[in-house]
């Protein structure tokens, strides 16, 4: 099955190949941008598959550096976080989004553009342009808005959590991260969502990842499959644990902002988010 492309309503381009679904929007020389996106996307999956085994291997000191351009982005985004269990796959969606976005903004003059790879979004805007994005929960209810301006230097939005397509080690409903690149946001969202947790708590059901998806890069790590209702105190404790992780990532310059959602509670820090629910904590 070769890559597929289709125009969606609202002048959006849909590219699909294997597990990747990209939705692309562009303002300016749209036709040229879409043609460029389609051309670049043609080989994306093949490039990744060539080094798939390495990309699914835990990053340790001495692990070989991959060769492909996208694989290198993944490696680079994950490398600073090697102290926790991580494979370059943690940044695959964001890295693909960044790669395709970079390609189209070089190929065509654009005012604004985005590449949304299954929720991990690479965004581009000219000076004095902005972007507004809605955050919805898995029920489709709007949780808040993200408002970006060109001077924020944010190029990536990523969301991770229990209700996404990949498995999570934590219990966060979702964590949305703003960073300079989609690859950085992607890996950080994964790390923060994993950190929102109550280790050993009886309300949380976990299953080895490879029992659910035999080829999961998470191997035998126990991913969360169910969370029974939590008390407000427990919810607060789990979110607090995620915030510690998020603050560390921001202090070291890897992310700009994050919003953490769990059981109708939300914690937000950094600029860019407005939430429909009163943010209990701003740091």
């Amino acid at each position: 099955m070769r890559p597929m492309a289709a125009l969606l309503p609202g002048n959006r381009l849909h590219l699909q190949h294997g597990p990747m679904d990209l939705i692309i929007g562009a303002e300016g020389a749209r036709a040229a941008a879409f043609e460029a996106a389609r051309a670049r996307f043609e080989t994306v999956l093949d490039e990744l598959v060539g080094e798939l085994e390495l990309l699914r291997t835990q990053m340790l000191p001495g692990t070989p550096i991959p060769k492909g351009a996208i694989a290198l982005r993944m490696h680079t985004a994950c490398r600073p976080h090697r102290q926790t269990f991580l494979t370059p796959m943690a940044a695959v969606a964001g890295s693909v989004a960044d790669t395709v976005l970079d390609y189209i903004i070089n190929a065509a003059p654009l005012h604004r553009a985005y590449v949304n790879n299954g929720g991990d979004i690479a965004v581009y805007m000219e000076k004095n342009q902005g972007f507004t994005t809605a955050i919805q929960n898995h029920a489709g209810k709007e949780l808040g808005r993200i408002t970006l301006n060109s001077e924020d230097y944010i190029g990536g939005i990523a969301t991770s959590g229990r209700h996404g397509r990949s498995h999570s080690l934590g219990i966060a409903d979702s964590v949305t991260v703003l960073a300079e690149t989609a690859a950085q946001a992607d890996v950080a969202a994964t790390l923060i969502a994993n950190a929102v947790d109550l280790p050993g708590h009886s309300a949380i059901t976990r299953t080895p990842a490879n029992a659910l998806a035999p080829e999961s890069d998470l191997g035998e790590a126990r991913v969360v499959t169910h969370v029974a209702p939590l008390t407000p105190e427990e919810t607060n404790r789990a979110l607090q644990s995620g915030l510690v992780c998020a603050n560390t990532l921001r202090a070291s310059g890897h992310i700009k902002a994050a919003a953490l959602f769990l059981c109708d509670e939300v914690r937000v820090f950094g600029h860019g988010f407005t939430t429909t629910k009163r943010a209990l904590e701003r740091t």
Partner: protein, 491 residues
């Protein structure tokens, strides 16, 4: 569906370069392809029902314009087969499709529901004994359902349901789900009914004759033994002295029966076992079984008692026939007034053939029955109970894979549909275990908005990418979008 016993090999998916190894019952990284019992299946092959009066025009490719695929001049109905499911997430159903039909903007919310509360009702056209009411039906030694109240000329089974799917052992759930899936996809399932010495093996396949203890059933009975006497009495008049129609339910005796009396057929002194209901009608002449007329008898004479010597005479003749006409025998009384086999006269043979000719072919019918519960309805609307009300008020039409579905009265949306009316391979499963079945709700756009539908998610039919979709024609089914289905004023 293997868990523990014999796990089939993983298969390698070659649909894309990732080349996932996929274990049985799992899907690949894309969630589009899965291993089903060793076969690679595409999970999202959307199936479209074309109404027979309008053919689908081939999809047009418009070169470099990325115009996608266009459906023109036809009225295809997008079914939920292959639509993918939203369970257990409450996001909008995967496809909410709008198209204009006869000037009314119609919306079809297409989803594949995961039915934990589901099962099948099986109607087996036979009078043969397959088990007593309430007998347990087993597959691979696991209980999957039971025998329920018999219907006219048919035995009924109720299989599946939440008690077997998730209420019992893990193996029970797996075997039940597997059996339901096969039955719903019109495959044959062998089941054992009853226990101990009363076991009957039945092979059930939708649209096919049942196979009972290794013998394929051919015909439904023409009626009970008493009814058969009433239907054929005139043809026997003058041809034979007496007729016994052997039936598990009511065995009929011509000379005693009201029909025989009307024709002035004299008494013959024939005496029969069993319990007399009214003249010429006998219950329980033998035990139920797979022999004559659904009884356990192979030799019909075993149900006769000695003839009354005051009435019977030497040379008196007798036809014994089953309610399907498949078995028949002709006897004459010897000097001891004992019936002896004799060659059957052609006219009587013809009457047995006529009984057989009037019997309908025996088939198994499989009706899927399931309840559209909370999360499925939430995929259609933010206010699930309004969907239920819309269905009850005939503002929304429910179909399963484009096939007409009967909606039960009362609360909830509990539907039944004949699996033979649905596109082949409509059903799937998840390891929960539960069946995945297609279900569509069709209504006017304004009604959809009024019930709190995800109006912003509605896609025009022409905007759906349907080039990889499967197209089928269902004959004899009303179009789900026909205005005749709805309560609102017709145009």
């Amino acid at each position: 569906m293997a868990d523990g016993d014999t796990k089939p090999e993983k298969i390698r998916c070659d649909a894309c370069p990732v080349m996932c190894y996929i274990a049985d019952g799992k899907s690949g990284a894309c969630d589009r392809y899965a291993n089903h019992g060793g076969d690679l299946v595409r999970l999202d092959a959307l199936t479209i029902v074309e109404t027979t009066d309008q053919a689908l025009v081939p999809f047009l490719k418009t070169g470099e314009d990325w115009d996608g695929d266009i459906v023109q001049g036809s009225r295809p109905f997008v079914t939920a087969v292959g639509a993918g499911t939203t369970y257990p997430d409450y996001k909008p159903a995967p496809f909410i499709v709008a198209q204009e039909v006869d000037g009314v903007d119609m919306v079809t919310v297409v989803t594949e529901g995961i039915f934990s509360y589901c099962g099948v009702k099986v109607k087996i056209d036979t009078d043969r004994h397959i088990g007593h009411e309430r007998d347990v039906v087993c597959v691979e030694g696991e209980p999957i359902g039971h025998v329920m109240t018999s219907e006219y000329g048919s035995k009924m089974l109720s299989l599946g349901g939440v008690e077997h799917l998730t209420g019992g052992s893990k193996k029970e759930g797996r075997v039940t789900c597997d059996a339901l899936l096969q039955l719903c996809n019109c495959e044959a399932v062998e089941m054992v009914i009853g226990d101990g010495e009363h076991q009957t093996t039945v092979v059930v396949q939708a649209g096919k004759a049942p196979i009972i203890n290794g013998v394929e059933e051919k015909l439904m009975r023409v009626g009970c033994g008493s009814a058969a006497i009433g239907m054929f009495a005139k043809q026997w008049l003058g041809q034979v002295d007496d007729v016994v129609v052997v039936d598990d339910h009511i065995t009929g005796v011509l000379s005693e029966h009201e029909a025989g009396k009307q024709l002035d057929i004299p008494p013959t002194g024939l005496k029969i076992k069993g319990r007399r209901s009214t003249p010429g009608r006998y219950f329980q002449v033998a035990d139920p079984g797979t022999g004559w007329g659904g009884t356990d008898i192979e030799d019909p004479l075993t149900i006769l008692k000695p003839f009354d010597p005051k009435v019977a005479r030497v040379g008196l003749n007798l036809l014994m026939v089953s309610t399907t006409g498949e078995q028949f025998a002709f006897f004459e009384l010897d000097e001891n007034l004992e019936p002896q086999p004799a060659p059957i006269p052609p006219k009587l043979k013809a009457s047995a053939d006529l009984i057989a000719e009037n019997c309908e072919p025996s088939v198994c019918s499989v009706l899927f029955m399931g309840g559209a519960g909370g999360s499925l309805r939430a995929g259609v609307t933010e206010n699930p109970v309004r969907l239920t009300r819309s269905v009850k008020d005939s503002l929304a039409y429910v179909s399963c894979g484009g096939a007409q579905a009967y909606v039960w009265p009362g609360g909830g949306i509990t539907v039944m549909a004949d699996v033979l009316d649905m596109p082949a391979g409509s059903f799937g499963y998840v390891p929960t275990p539960a069946l995945v079945a297609p279900i569509e709700f069709t209504m006017r756009v304004e009604d959809y908005g009024a019930l709190g539908g995800y109006v912003n998610e509605v896609k025009r039919l022409e905007d759906l990418q349907l080039s990889t979709a499967r197209k089928v024609t269902l004959s004899g089914q009303p179009s789900p979008m026909s205005s005749a289905n709805y309560r609102w004023p017709k145009r």
